[in-house]
Every structure is written in structure tokens, then in C-alpha cells.
Amino acid sequence: MARRPLVKNFTKGACCGHPSFHIEPLGIFPDPMSEPTVAPAATDAKPSVEMVNVQVDGVWMKFPKGMRMIKALEEAAKVIPHYCYHPKLSSPGNCRMCLVEMGMPSRPAPGQSEPEKDEHGFAKIQWIPRPAISCANTISEGMGIRTASTMVEEVRKGVMEFLLINHPLDCPICDQAGECRLQEFSVGFGRGQSRFQDEKVHKPKNQDIGARIVLDDERCIMCSRCVRFSSEIADEDVLGFTERGSQTVLTTHPGQRLDHNYSLNTVDICPVGALTSKDFRFQMRVWFLKETPSVCTGCARGCNTEIGSREGVIYRQTPRQNDDVNSTWMCDQGRLDFHWVNSDRRLIDPMLKDGAHHRTTTWPQAVSAVADKLRGLRGDQIAIIGSGRMTNEELFMLKKLAAALKTESLDIVPRTGAADNYLVSADRNPNTAGAGLIFCDRPGSTLATIRQKVASGEIKAVIAWRENLLEQAGFTVEELSQLEVLVAAHVMANAMAELAHVVLPTAAWSEKRGSMINATGRLQRLNKASEPPGNARDDWEVLRDLTQALTGTNGLYLVEDVFKSMATEIPELGGLSLGKIGEAGLPLLPSSEVIPLLHREADRKTRGIIVG
């Protein structure tokens, strides 16, 4: 059978910043990377992109002009092993792992006007007898790339052998084992055994180079990703190489430490185990961890994360790529803010105040106790204080509870801090936007009035959901003590729970499914990584039961039902469901907020410094 030309067309689509692909009718095989959801009109919308023809492993394809070879190969679904290349960092081309065989179109022979053509009508490729790095070279018209030729296989073997010459092979004690590029590429492209006879070079191990980082220089392969991250992204140029040749070591600048708030990202991008996190060090091997896509709730940025848990215990949280929210980074503060989930200060049973002390009770009793206490009160005697840390579904159910109680005193507790010039938002509540859309008009604006009314005795009952009113909200013990009814739903034991007549234990962000809206108006979804401890329950279920105790049945059985019911009442959420949000989230509300880190990243991308 005669070979038909196989031509594919790769362009940058406009949707969500993700690459989209459009296969021209000539394509015989379906592109494994194509996304059916992307409109095929993407190429028509951007006719200005100049396309070039490149032969990849014998197949002619089209890519936008000026694309890096490694990016084009990635889009052609070729696996190119690499260490130093990172799409969000500059490409120094120092690891040599991404070498490929490259060829350029032949020129016309003397006396001929046209070069010799192949069966597809392209100029015959003249292969260059030396390999080229694909991370720092760009593609050009008529170019050929081979990713699986004997030469490529041999050079990869050679590079791997050199990298492993001084590697300590202490995988049994290395935290990176299981997600180590050196392990993976050694198996995939290496020789399998070492021919090196001499003693390995010894370098300092187990060095404390920062508050959260340990450095092992023997494992370092000098890819310089961490050095580039520190200088290009975190603007704290504290890392660098000293000495020469095989004695080269990664080190911090004298008198400086790797202490900035984004330092743990260097651990993520380190392809080997040279940089490890003190927090995660020797806690659990990575292959045991169940990875749940989630969202950080430390501030309104809503960085996409992956929660690593095993048997209900969270061991780490790592950033998940989302080019519209956090690129591939997150701050250390947000990343490490999960230890309280496993703490023994968690509330695990509903409790009723019996005289001076609390006694544990069952959920039906706790719920009916709250309903009984509130039934005798008028709507204007009750205030409901929610939290910007609650999901949309929970805020919606809290609003339903407010409607059942006929109260109009509802608000959330604002929580602010200093924004940094990277990702951290000044608003430290992850879902203020959701509260504004669903729960109350201007979040935080009526809190002072509510407090005044509590002080004057006008409000006799307060339901505080997920907030310790003695902290940010500034209520005093006297004010809360004079209340007839104080219901505290929280995850942690705290001073306000001590004062509350009914204490309801609820679930942490990692223990539930739900949605939140971040500072840029993006709707994102939390997923359940572990179960709430003891008898603690999902917040929305408790709210559903409370509303039901006051009004009768409401037919909500799943958190999906809550979202559906919310989507019918709130026009902005119309037509959506929890499933439709997807792992990357959806832009929902208009916002003028600029994320400083992404702004600079876009600039570097435009200037061609990074692939992005």
C-alpha cells in the first residue's frame, strides 16, 4: 500500500490557554492528544499564525513557526526525556537529556533549480550527524526530527551513564524515589548497569539550607531548575553552583538561606532527590499516596493543588498546574496549612452544653436541640454568621437555613492580610466571591451591626458556622455569654465552642466535595481526599438536617443536588453542575484582578524566554 501523506495541524487555541489541536482532513490517525470539546474553528479564528512543516519520525506535521522543538514533539505525543527544561523557566540546555536527531531540507544541487523531493513533495532531509538539544532549538520549515533513531538511543544512554557516575544510588532512603526522573529515565533510556570503576565523588549530604528545605549535593544532577526558579520566579537569587567539573556543588549564597515563601516549589521541580521538603521528609513513600485534585483554601487565589493522602491521613499538598490560576506554583504557607486536619484538636462529636460543661450527644439530638432552641425566637432576634471558608453549596444551605428562620442578619467574617507580588491574595478567605454571590450582598459589611445588636441584646441567638467569633470577628466573651442560644459549627475545638450551647463538628476542606469562587471569579471544585474524623459530618448535610427540622423535607440527598438547586436559583450558575466544573475550574464572574506572577509569566512567554 502506498503511503499517504499524513499531515497534522497544530495551533494554539484560544480556549482557556490550553493548547488545542485541529486535525486536517488529510490526517489518517486520530490524534491521541486532541480534545473533542475544543471547537475545530480554532485555526480559523487565528489565521495569523504562520505554520511550518516538520517531519517528526517520518510523519510530516504542521506546527506554529518559532515553536521549541521539545514543545512540538510533546504536541506530537513523543516522549522526550529531559531534566533541565521546564516550560515555565528559561532553557539553559545543560542536562543534554533531550537530545534528538535533526535534519535540514537539502538545497538544490549545482545546476539544478529545485532540491530533490521526497514522496510527499517536501525537500529531502539531510540529517545532521550530531544530535541537537530539543529544549532550546526552534523548529523551521522543512526540518526533520528523529526521536527514536539509533543515534538518539545511544546518546541518551551516554547521558544517563554520565549522570549516574557520581550518583549515590541511595534510593532506599531518598524521598524522591517513586517520582524520580533519574529512576524513570534510567529504566527507560539507560544502560542498566554502570561501567564506572573508580570511587564516586563525595559531596555534602543532608544540608540544612532553609527553613523548609534539605539539600543533598550528591544526588544533584546540576539541572539548575531550582537556581532558575529562585532568580526568575521568586526573585530571591540565593542558589548557585560552585566548584568545577565533577566537583560542582549546588549551594546557597554565603550568609543566605533558601527561605522565601515559594521555596518548596524548588522541591517539586527538582527532578531528583537533591532538594527535599523537611515537612514531608521521611513521612511516607510517594507510591502509597492517593492524589486528590483539590484547591488550596489559604487565600482567595485558590491555587490548584493535589492532596497526597494515605488511609485517611494527609501527608502533603503539592501545586497542580493551572495556567489561569497558579501556573505550576504555590506558596509554602498554603501548602503546609493542612496539619490541623490530622490534629487531635478536631471536634469529633456533637455536644450540648449541660450546665457548665459539654456532653457529647448524637446528631439527631443535637439537631433537634438547635431547632427547639430557635423555634421560640423571632427572625430579627437571630443572626447567622457564616464563613468565607465555606463552599458555595454550604453557603447556599446556610442561606436556606436563614430563610427558614426568617432572619436577615447574615454575614461572613472578612479575613485580610498583605498580598505579595506573586500569588498570595490580600483576601485570605477562599470563597468571598461565592459568599457575595450566594449568601450576602457585600460580605463583611454588616458584621459590625450584628455585633452591636448582640451587645445591645437585640439579637438573642447566633449561629456561627466555621468561624471562631472571638478571633477575626472581634466579639468578646461577655457579648457571646449573654446570648440565649449560641450554636458553633466548627472543625477545631476553640474558645468560642467552649461558650456555645450546641457544638457541631464539621468537615475540613479536604474532607468534602464542593465548589468555591476565587478572587478572579473562577469557579473551582474541591474533592474529597479523606473522611471527617469521628462523628464529624459534612457541613451541608448538617445544614440540610437543621433546615429540615425547622421546615420539613427538602429532598436534597447529594451535594450534587445542592448544586443543581443552587443553579436554578442563581443565574450565574445556570446550566452548570459540580461535574461540569472539571478539575481546571471555569471562569464565572468578571474580575479585573491581575495575578502578578501570571502577568510576568505571560510577559516572559511573549518575549520567548519560556515556553509556557
Partner: protein, 181 residues
């Protein structure tokens, strides 16, 4: 098909009352008992072993797969670095390891890692030997102990102390953490 009629055998009176048959059976049993008694008295070779007073332990082959245990080497170093590969490979999930870090002033501080706790649930263990096979540090071995008993479930869980007690000191292992490392 033609039906074949069988004639029931006609039993005699002696056969009907069974007693002669019982007596015959007793005689055979008594005969064996007497022969065995004479055999024991005559110190002839016997083929059963009086377990648990007598044991076959000395004859157990080196590859015998008994209780898994942790070993220390001739330098007194606990071999296990808590890489958790045995925990991963263990088919009945009998092994639970809590990894830990060696203090900086430890004699073997360069190994950095050692198990804080190491538990093998011997009710779950199936003596398959995969833990020994997968161990990259030659730290866990199946010993010849087979009579693992206890009066409670908790007692059947071997902790780190018990495992090192069973394992003892093992010599001739590869010392990959020596000075060259």
C-alpha cells in the same frame, strides 16, 4: 430393560447379632497395640515424632520460610532504612512501617533513615518471602521460627523489638553504607 432381581444373602444367627464381628475387630486392634508395645520396648526405629517435645528444627533447610524478622549486622547497625518496599509488596498487607529520621549524632547518621516502628501482623503473614526478596538493604529475612503463637491478636503483632529479637545478628551481608559510600 430387564430388571435383575438380586437375592438378599441369608444371614446366620451369629451374623445377625454382630457380636462375633465386634470381637474380631477388638482382636485386630489389640494385636496392633501389642505389636507397637513390643516394638517400643525392643527400641526398633519409629517413624512418628513426639511434637512438641521433639522437633525437626535441626533438619530445616536454609531456605525454610518461617517468621520474617529484621536483622542487625556485625557493626551493630540496624539494616532496615524504612524504604517501605516490603510494606508495598506484602500481598496480605501484614507489614506496617512508620519511617523515622536518625538523629544527627547517631553513629550511623549518614544512613539518615531508620524505622521508628515496624510491625508485622503474624495473623496476616502468609510466609511468602516477598519482603525478603524485595529488600534492597538485606534487612528482612524469613527465619526458621514457625511456631508463632499468642493469646490475643495484639500479641500476634510483632513490633520492632520483637522482630530484632527473632532476627538477631547476621554477618556476611553487603555493607553498602561503608566508608566508600
Amino acid at each position: 430393560m430387564a430388571t435383575k432381581l438380586l437375592k438378599r444373602p441369608k444371614l446366620t444367627f451369629g451374623e445377625k447379632i454382630y457380636l462375633p464381628a465386634i470381637a474380631k475387630g477388638l482382636i485386630i486392634t489389640l494385636g496392633h497395640a501389642v505389636r507397637t508395645f513390643l516394638q517400643i520396648n525392643a527400641k526398633k526405629p519409629k517413624f512418628t515424632m513426639e511434637y512438641p517435645e521433639e522437633k525437626w528444627d535441626a533438619q530445616l533447610p536454609d531456605y525454610y520460610r518461617g517468621a520474617p524478622a529484621l536483622v542487625t549486622d556485625e557493626h551493630g547497625r540496624e539494616r532496615c532504612v524504612s524504604c517501605q518496599l516490603c510494606e508495598f509488596i506484602c500481598p496480605p498487607r501484614a507489614i506496617t512501617i512508620t519511617p523515622g529520621e536518625l538523629p544527627k549524632d547517631d553513629a550511623f547518621a549518614k544512613v539518615e533513615k531508620a524505622p521508628r516502628e515496624f510491625k508485622i501482623d503474624m495473623i496476616r503473614c502468609i510466609y511468602c518471602g516477598m519482603c525478603e526478596e524485595v529488600c534492597p538493604e538485606q534487612a528482612i529475612f524469613l527465619r526458621k521460627d514457625y511456631a508463632i503463637t499468642g493469646t490475643s491478636r495484639a500479641e500476634m503483632v510483632h513490633d520492632k523489638t520483637r522482630l530484632y529479637e527473632i532476627g538477631g545478628i547476621r554477618t556476611g551481608l553487603v555493607n553498602k553504607w561503608n566508608d566508600l559510600k
